[in-house]
């Protein structure tokens, strides 16, 4: 189980790293190299985004990566095939991240089967609140997969408890308002929010949106269990190529 894996890792490390890539961007071959580099550099888990044409929660960098991947001919089938290859090659947990329509069109149950067959551990679906997710929750449970739910700074305490009652694996805490890839103010405000998150769940907490360097991660140590790096690595690959990824990940701890 993801939760016990994370908790055992947390005995050895103060904070875990989760990274995010968009499948098929810049290409599936490059994605494989990026994953290999990240795993070797000690990344603890990864989310693999299946691209969608309307990614409303994503900012310009990830949006662009989604569009470019689709324009290059990425399909759900190619993403699933790729995931199979990845989980066989690397020994860390992998999650899918995508928007609900991708799962819905594939068939919720069929998608869960496909995940389980490929040894994927869970999924993050940012436009699927539990109220709309009964079929998804049933399927994830049936195949022993973890549905990751999201807290945001606008989520009241009561709703955090409600969301936590559906979540498994860990809770993804969005650091601030706005889309992915914008700057986040790592300050006292964030402390208060993370304290609220901690009170709402016994699950490990991941914090994402705007995490970009060692300073940010140092700030988060002791406050959150997992730091999520999303946009920043995509930016890095765009600017400096896949070769720069290893050094970057090493610089974070």
């Amino acid at each position: 189980m993801l939760e016990s894996y994370l908790k055992s890792r947390l005995i050895e490390k103060k904070i875990l790293l989760m990274t995010h890539i968009v499948l098929g961007y810049p290409s599936f071959e490059e994605c494989f190299k990026i994953i290999k580099t990240m795993v070797n550099a000690g990344v603890d888990l990864m989310e693999l985004q299946i691209p969608f044409s309307e990614p409303i929660a994503d900012g310009p960098v990830i949006l662009h990566a989604n569009q470019k991947s689709l324009a290059e001919g990425s399909t759900v089938k190619k993403c699933l095939d790729f995931a199979q290859n990845v989980t066989q090659s690397f020994d860390i947990p992998f999650l899918f991240m995508s928007y609900y329509n991708i799962l819905f069109k594939y068939g919720i149950d069929r998608f869960a089967v496909a995940m389980a067959e490929r040894n994927m551990k869970g999924a993050i679906v940012p436009d699927l609140p539990p109220e709309e997710g009964q079929d998804y929750l049933n399927a994830m449970k049936k195949y022993n997969l973890d549905p990751i739910f999201i807290f945001s700074p606008t989520t009241p305490d009561e709703r955090m408890n409600y969301l936590a009652s559906f979540g498994r694996g860990f809770i993804y805490c969005v650091a601030r308002k706005g889309v992915t890839g914008l700057d986040t103010d790592f300050s006292g405000q964030l402390n208060k929010y993370l304290e609220r998150c901690r009170r709402a769940t016994h699950l490990p907490l991941a914090l994402g949106f705007g995490v970009k360097d060692k300073n940010d991660i140092d700030f988060l140590k002791g406050k959150t269990d997992i730091a999520v790096i999303g946009t920043q690595t995509i930016r890095l690959v765009e600017k400096k190529g896949v070769g720069a990824v290893g050094e970057f990940v090493n610089s974070l701890r």
């Binding site: 409303i56 929660a57 739910f149 969005v174 889309v179």
Partner: protein
Amino acid sequence: MIERGYYDGFGGAYLPEILVATFDDLEDKFIKAKSDPSFWKEYTDIMSTYSCRPTPVTFAENLTNHFNGARIYIKREDLNHTGAHKANNVMGQGLLVKRMGKTRVIAETGAGQHGVATATMAAKFGFKCTIYMGEVDVQRQRPNVFWMDRLGAEVIPVREGTRILKDAINEAFRDWVGNMDTTHYVLGTACGPHPFPEMVSYFQSIIGKEARKQIMEKEGRLPSRIYACVGGGSNALGIFKEFLDDPVELVGIEAGGRGLDSGRHAARLSSKDASIGVAQGYKTYFLQDSDGQMKETHSVAAGLDYVGVSPILAYLKESGRVRFESATDREVVDAMSLTIKKEGLVPALESAHAFVQAFKEAPKLSKEDIILINQSGRGDKDIFTVADAFDDPRWKEFIKKKAEEYNA
């Protein structure tokens, strides 16, 4: 979430968590406003003093004689301030924004009508205003951009995706998730997450409420059929809603573009090309591929050029209460031309879709039948697009000369 807003399986609220609290607040304020009798009065008062409500229904005598069938009436939403039914929704939401105490509004726009209407409302109520508009639409609807600029709105051309209406909606959502404390998103059509479909059709229902009364006063009986164009579906729901329980056939006309076989259209409910999906926060029929990726759409009318459709209309299609047809770009230009010549009325290219189907059916109906067409907007302000659609050589010459003047 207070309520999810389903119409027999269509609709819902597929929201990123960051927006859930905002939608709960909106839902709450909307329910309170609806149950407050002074709110609808405040709404109709402002629509009668600031816009031209009630808008008349016009008996189209010459078209009636021309087709020698049903008596043709036209509901004149083109006479609203800013030239389309969009004003109804925008002013209603503007009153809600005041109640919510927010100071900034954002909106998407396709044809530019909703953008102009929102910018106008923002000017009147003193709100800051940002309008998202696909780059393709910015290019084909420059005059509307000009007026949004004059009205003090910031117009942001959207260069992502297909660069039309759906992409503008995505960008507006991206703005909103960062600025919900000060900002309300004035969604322009009866789509998107709950409560938008219900709220937008609530404000637009003023069209049908008036039309029913007017046609009863004039003819003493109900029309046999009502025709309305369908982009997102707000003008259609606006006129249909009041007649849902009546023995009146309701016909929605979608953009057939270059023809349903061409793949270049925006027909979601009248073609076999769409399937049920979830995007932009709601479940409905979308023009999408088998993976669930949204397809490119096409229409001569930017306001109909959209991949999704109101979940309320998807439900009314499945229940059989509303019939859906499509009109091609070419048919639309012909119907518009005929309406201008016979009646001196200039429907918008969007609205002209409804005229196409009405003209196909009017001759087959008896002289006892009454039909009502919703002229959702005026076409004269879209002179650049319309002139292109008519392929007018003297207009082109004028533009070339004008360009030379600017170059000189």
